[in-house]
Amino acid sequence: MASSSEGGNLALLATIAISVVFFAAAAVALGYYLVFGENLAGPPQNIYVIRLSEYTIEASPEPIIVKVGQPVVFKIVNEGAVEHELMFVPNLQMMADMIMNAAIRLQEQNPELSEEEIIAMVDKRHEMVMEEMIEKALKGKVEGEEFMIELEPGESTVATFTFLEPGIYVIACMKLDGTFPEPHAKEGMFNQIIVVEG
């Protein structure tokens, strides 16, 4: 009699132990949901590495998701073989067409000049205009030192930005080397920064 009662107690203990383990697992799952379940597309980060190459802008991790009002650090690396830039673009279609048209017009006006010289002329003429345009468009939306960061091959830099309004911001490269007369953006060299509230 005594041995059978002992065996019964053991079975009871084992049953309770198993159910406790299962409830603990359920609690862990619930905790995971409560901690990670509220994010839009993964947690917004404070630091992103942005790689420029022919002809892509890649971020790590992707996508670039940033919280409103929180400073974000971009480490920008040019891994390509030609000069690239990271530029905030208010209207990608318009800007790309503008640069392409300018390049074509300059080439028509000065047929004796080489491609490199025309690229240099386009850069020089539009740098001032574009910088002004971008700063005007981003005023009150983004805080940062520079919205047009140019990098030689192999060069890298660090820039800090603070986004003040939620939405989607476009970064692109408007250089012409290799894709003349189209800017690199038309080959797909652009990316989006998703700014969320929180």
């Binding site: 019964g8 107690n9 079975a11 009871l12 049953t15 309770i16 198993i18 159910s19 299962f22 409830f23 359920a26 995971y32 949901y33 990670f36 379940g37 509220e38 994010n39 839009l40 597309a41 993964g42 947690p43 790590s60 991790p61 992707e62 996508p63 998701i65 990608l92 279609q93 790309a96 989607i168 476009v170 189209e182 953006a185 038309k186 080959e187 797909g188 652009f190 989006q192 998703i194």
Partner: protein, 239 residues
Amino acid sequence: MFHYPFDPSQFSETARVWWNLFGFYLTVAILLGIAVYAALVLIPFIYSRSRKAVDEIKPGVVPGERGRNAYLAVIVVLILASFLAVFVESYISVNELASLIEEEYGVTIEQLQAGEADGALVVEVRGFQWGWTFKYPNGIESDVLYLPAGRPVIFKVTSDDVFHAFSIPDLRVKVDAIPGQVNMGWTVPQTPGTYRIQCYELCGVGHAEMISKAVVLPPELFDFWYESLGEELVVEEGG
């Protein structure tokens, strides 16, 4: 490399419906689980306290004759009811999805399944050992999948060599890629972002690295990409 979202319901219409359905399945499973575990914990207590060996095994007496038919009936009804609830809910949500796609985007489920719809973007997906190629109606071939937000997308999935499975887990898309056969899959991406594309069929040594990315862009940005690369290709063909 990628963020891992837990709640995908806002990423695409298909994700929303499947996520809601999963939530319903989970609720049913939790309720049943509570009942089962409560019984598991309580029954040993009850029967170890009362010394009456009611359910003692007696040779020649079947369990049904022990006078507990009501319990058995409750359990059977519970199981059948949970099955029925899950089936009905699945039916309702799939129908909801079909009517939503038809009303909001003007595309019927039949069109989506046939791979021909005016309002939808049709992407030809080709799997190979080990990667993906995406071909668009205007001739762009890309190894990164670009998608417009808020527009139905149809995937025509096939394979060059062995069985693969094309999947974007966050958007709840999964289609088998089979050589010599075109399978349809579809979704309506909603939130711009970058999502993981992965092969879900063991296809060889490089299976684990058969990863690509789906970039969902706002419509105007997608149009910029689509038009500028499409033009380029036409120029190349002409010259």
